[in-house]
Amino acid sequence: MKKLINKAEDVVTDELQGIAAAHPDLVRVHIGPNFVVRADAPVKGKVALVSGGGSGHEPMHGGFVGVGMLDAACPGEVFTSPTPDQMLEATKAVNGGAGVVHIVKNYTGDVMNFDMAAEMARGEGIEIESVLVDDDVAVQDSLYTAGRRGVGTTVLMEKIAGAAVEERRPLKEVAEIARHVNANGRSMGMALTSCTVPAAGKPTFELGDDEMEIGIGIHGEPGRERMKLKPVSEIVEMMAVAVVEDIPYKRGDQVLAFVNGMGGTPLIELYVVFNEVNKFLEGRGVKIARNLIGSYITSLEMAGFSITLLKLDDELTKLWDAPVKTPGLRWGA
């Protein structure tokens, strides 16, 4: 597998140095422990928003640090949860004295490392609210699984909660808004290929030329079901039905439709997908009030896409529209 890297073990450090060099007006990068903070951190009197996760999902999370979104992001090794010391130092670096919200994607590693970090931060007198993202409909939330994974809704939550903290809303209110986003967001993903973790040197799984994997996550792991490739209209129908019928989203609902590329799928195909999503939702009487199309929560070079729907109300729409100035998302500023 060809990669544009020097040594596999240096990928994350090399990337962070690249980010620091590219965006000094937006962020500061700390190496050892690794974290990215907004250039003007800490912002006194403002609730701070911290997230993190494995590297390999860029622009999430480091690319979403700046005004109107995350105060800090903690990058782990590729597809590996970051460690508590990263979250603790990042939390302290952005603590403005009004508390800190941790946005935690529901993966066993992320949850445990963030839990340990929150314990440590609380031990140092910082008030922490942890918000879980578990929007993936591909996995059953049952006693028999680790619960639903946190996927596409994470990006939307980081933007919306980021706008809320920029408005200087108090800690509990920001956490409530974030949880409200989680309750109203649902996602599903699929892949045409796996991806190769630099240190592993080969794809995590193999897919035949005429196969696709449905219900994938964002770490290159196999999904729920493997099947023969179908035309995209049928793929979207299959996935959109699963997403729409989960909450469910009903006739008359307004949504944000997020068509996300997994990293290896070109924009031309993402727009083809969005066209299908648009037709499908129209057929169901669900209005797309806002959209996001592009590769925002990726899995290295995996070819594939995910659909996320977020049910909107006036407040969420307003927070979504608010200005944001980060390496990965920028409007109104």
Partner: protein
Amino acid sequence: MSVPYDQVVQFVRGFAKVVAENKEYLTQLDSAIGDADHGINMDRGMQAAQAKLDEVPEGDVGNLLKTVGMTLVSTVGGAGGPLYGTLFMQMGAAVAGKPELSPQDWAEALTKGLEGVIMRGKAELGDKTMVDALAPARDALKEALDEGASFGDALRRSAAAAEEAMKGTIPLVARKGRASYLGERSAGHQDPGATSSYLLLKTAADTWADADP
């Protein structure tokens, strides 16, 4: 009868070596039902822990194990970091201040370590995790010691129990961790966490059993 401090150091070095040797294998197991990083992560963590060994003031086995645990927490990441970190930290707490490990000390350390792992990860037997190897290993050790077996025999029985249990994870459907997203597809694959736990118990036997056959 007891394992002196420098033999506990050898155990840590031994585990680091075994993890490095099995890095590809553990990663391969983790590709089938995970995200292909268990071997890579554990190797990174154990290399870091090994590098710390010379800095740790000699003579306190508990402190040594605790230091290994803390290093693992801050270098491994994923689920393995908190779980193996907690395992070693709790093992260390159980034998804090001790200059050497008696067989009972090791049984107590494994017991407290296992409790920590369960507290942190909330896994139960049969969930297809490291607990599935650690629990039978601890039970076999205690049983052997209660029967009056030598420490060497008890360690070997403990490792054998871990090995059998590790293989026993193959047919299980995962209920915890990343493998659980695969549902039924996780069956038919050996669990990477149970495998690295077996390697830990095997290292204990290989390092200490010959000193006291």
